[in-house]
């Protein structure tokens, strides 16, 4: 066992897949000689060569378009968005072209688009976004969002092996903050579409993913210590397709649900989860389904304002207390 960071785990996953399968290649801005803005692909050019680690022009549309073409031709591209905020430039390629290819033309598009997401790093509106809701609505895509080092590795490997296009959302605040002992030599593949019970509880369920998993776990600990409230924490890991069975299982156990995500509120993933619980487990609810999310504003630069806009541990504690007492 060695302790690896979330970023190192992701790097290992990419490396192992490129070693395992020579159809896998990487393309993106500054991913080659520079090693990527966050150094995820540092050393890859030296090992795999410029043919498999391709520096591209600054055009997200071109990156995803080239990756889609390569995927149709039998390769397994992993496209990096230097910051996930700019995936919107490739929105047309992903939603109109990539997501529909199998349905329109029977074309498999086994590509991965990955990039650093999220705030808590004072990055402001262009370098802190969480784009999942924009793609969550698109049939034909899969979306994974690891929160732990193990899943950072396990999900990149699963995404690369998947025959459908996968958005792999990685959280830059977790890159070097989250560490975990991972076994050497053992292959870690996290199945897409399976949530993980991160903490057992009986009084209410906190359903979350990404960086807010850690805020939720902190909140659950505080609730246990200060209130004697046992909160269950479910890490979704995959957003599309959602693991309805895991969510419903937890609802039937605790009967109260708090959904936490870092993305903004309106039209966010929490709304869809709420609707599914209503459809599948309405009679098991002992309280309204509540949300803790970012406020509906572009993320401010000012540290105090960023802290206010993004969900914090105390916001989760407060909402959970209210729900527990309901």
């Amino acid at each position: 066992m060695t302790e690896v960071t979330y970023l190192e785990a992701l790097r290992q996953g990419l490396w192992e897949e490129m070693e395992r399968d020579d159809r896998v290649f990487i393309l993106g801005e500054d991913v080659g000689l520079y090693g990527g803005a966050f150094k995820v692909t540092e050393g890859f050019t030296k090992r795999f060569g410029e043919q498999r680690v391709i520096d591209t022009p600054i055009s997200e549309a071109a990156i995803v378009g080239a990756a889609a073409g390569a995927a149709h031709m039998g390769l397994r591209p992993v496209a990096e968005m230097q910051f996930i905020d700019f995936i919107s430039c490739a929105y047309d390629m992903l939603t109109n072209y990539v997501a529909t290819a199998r349905y329109r033309a029977g074309l498999a598009t086994p590509l991965v688009v990955r990039g650093p997401c999220g705030g808590y790093v004072r990055g402001g509106p262009f370098h802190s976004q969480n784009p999942e809701a924009a793609f969550f609505h698109t049939p034909g895509l899969k979306i994974v969002y690891p929160a732990t080092a193990r899943d950072a590795k396990g999900l990149i490997k699963a995404a690369i092996r998947d025959d459908d296009p996968v958005l792999y959302l990685e959280h830059k605040w977790l890159y070097r903050r989250v560490k975990e002992q991972l076994p050497e030599g053992e292959e870690i593949v996290t199945p897409i579409g399976e949530a993980r019970l991160a903490r057992e509880g009986k009084d209410l369920s906190i359903v979350t993913y990404g960086a807010t998993l850690w805020k939720s776990l902190e909140a659950a600990e505080q609730l246990e210590q200060e209130d004697g409230v046992a909160a269950e924490v479910l890490d979704l890991r995959t957003l599309l397709p959602l693991d309805d069975a895991a969510i419903v299982r937890s609802v039937k156990k605790t009967n109260k649900v708090l959904i936490v995500h870092e993305d903004t509120r309106t039209g966010g993933v929490a709304g869809e989860i709420t609707a599914r619980i209503n459809e599948q487990a309405f009679e098991w609810l002992d309280g309204p389904i509540m949300r803790v999310t970012a406020h509906d504003v572009p993320l401010p630069y000012a540290p105090t304002l960023e802290d206010f806009v993004l969900p914090q541990t105390e916001d989760i504690v407060k909402a959970a207390r209210w729900l527990a007492a309901y």
């Binding site: 009967n255 098991w284 609810l285 209210w322 729900l323 309901y326």
Partner: protein
């Protein structure tokens, strides 16, 4: 007659107040159940609030643009078609265009109360706010209730606004009876007494103020106190009692009592003195029902216990049949279990007279509010050594140091006249001042 209250709802977490943005109905308008009544906006949501019952919009308490705390009374719907419809509520909005049919002369004719003393106060079709509150429950609780054939309204709720939670209903099913939560059913009304929610007027909170909804016990107490004030014609009489003899008896026998595990308090003597004399003055141990007086067969004395979370009144049953040690033991036991929330529901019911003892906090004398549907409550003032003029056997007067305390009794002048009350108090005073040593 059935009046259904419409309250400002809580529209989400951490929302303490809402603004009434628009009335969709006018005073006197007929409304259907679930028909939008008014619009509200909070800092999180805007919503139309449906009418909780069918009837006529009888009162408007909150005007457009006003911001009030959640649970504030916003309107009243009269569900009884024959009830007089008000021409305008005190804070009249626009001139009442939709003039109601000209009601006979005065709109405030008191409606005759039902002749039968046991007529339930709830009307046809309409339910009281208490009933609606009790039935408001989550899908899970309704599901469990249906599976176990349990009536949700019979379960005391510990959730927000008295909502029955999963724990409440599971506990109820498991134990078969409501857990003795910190509620005070002893102070709540039996069916025969005039019941119904009380409208506590809204007060505008100022910036920085903290607005906290009533706890269940606070709501019951608040409603009960107002209801009692409105129901009974309160009069209070004050008597000074010389406890010197009781103090001496206490001093002599305290250790012997302690050996038997009983704390011999002044309150035990006072309760004993009340119990002895209530039998002789049945009108003080009574209730009013319509135009009837119910003389209670039992003498059950409630003892008010102040808890950190409110007030509860456990009852010493058949106090007139207990010895002093029996009374002292009962008071010790009930007080202790009130503090540890271990009272069973029947131990806080069927009181016929109440004693409250604010003297332990130093109060000289008070004018307590009657615990309905009883007709008298005794307040015990601080007991301490005070100078007192006494007449010596040779006829000369002197000032002596005596153990003195006030007792005050609020009584319902509808049936208890001043003479009745004072005769009872005089007898009680005499019993205490000449307390027979044989009764120890």
């Amino acid at each position: 007659m059935a009046r259904v209250e419409v309250l400002m709802p809580q529209m989400g977490e951490s929302i303490a107040e809402g603004t009434l943005s628009k009335w969709l109905k006018k005073l006197g308008d007929p409304v259907k159940r679930d028909e939008p009544l008014f619009e509200i906006s909070t800092d999180k949501v805007d919503a139309e609030i449906p009418a909780p019952a069918a009837g006529v919009l009888a009162e408007i308490k909150v005007q457009e643009g006003q911001t009030v705390p959640v649970q504030t009374l916003v309107a009243v719907i009269e569900t009884d078609k024959s009830a007089p419809v008000p021409v305008a509520a005190p804070p009249a909005p626009a001139p009442p265009k939709a003039a109601p049919p000209p009601a006979a002369a005065s709109p405030v004719v008191p409606r005759p109360t039902p002749a039968s003393p046991v007529a339930a106060p709830k009307g046809d079709g309409g339910e009281t706010a208490e009933e609606r509150l009790r039935k408001r429950s989550t899908p899970l609780v309704r599901k469990i209730a249906a599976e176990h054939r349990v009536d949700i309204s019979a379960i005391p709720g510990t959730g927000f606004a008295g909502r029955v939670t999963k724990q409440d209903i599971l506990g109820f099913i498991e134990h078969g009876a409501p857990a003795p939560a910190p509620t005070a059913p002893g102070t709540r009304l039996p069916a025969a007494a005039p019941s119904g929610p009380v409208q506590h007027p809204a007060v505008e909170p100022w910036p920085g103020d903290r607005v906290e909804p009533f706890s269940k016990i606070r709501k019951i107490t608040a409603d009960h106190m107002i209801m009692s004030r409105r129901t009974s014609a309160h009069v209070t009489s004050f008597f000074e009692v010389d406890y010197t003899r009781v103090a001496e008896l206490r001093r002599k026998h305290k250790a012997a009592y302690a050996e038997r595990g009983v704390n011999l308090t002044y309150l035990a003597f006072i309760t004993k003195a009340c119990a002895e004399n209530l039998r002789k003055h049945p009108v003080v141990n009574a209730a009013v029902s319509g135009d009837n007086i119910i003389y209670r067969a039992d003498v059950n004395i409630g003892i008010a216990v102040a808890l950190d979370w409110g007030l509860i009144v456990p009852v010493v049953k058949h106090a007139d049949e207990l010895s002093l040690v029996g009374i002292a033991r009962a008071i010790n036991d009930l007080g202790e279990r009130a503090r540890t929330k271990k009272l069973s529901p029947d131990e806080i019911q069927r009181g016929t007279f109440t004693i409250t003892n604010p003297g332990v906090f130093g109060s000289y004398a008070g004018a307590p509010i009657i615990n309905q549907p009883q007709v008298a409550i005794l307040g015990v003032g601080a007991i301490e050594k005070r100078p007192k003029v006494v007449t010596l056997p040779d006829g000369t007067d002197t000032i002596a140091i005596r153990t003195i305390g006030m007792v005050s009794m609020s009584y319902d002048h509808r049936i208890v006249d001043g003479a009745d009350a004072d005769r009872f108090l005089a007898d009680m005073k005499r019993t205490l001042e000449d307390f027979p040593e044989g009764a120890i």
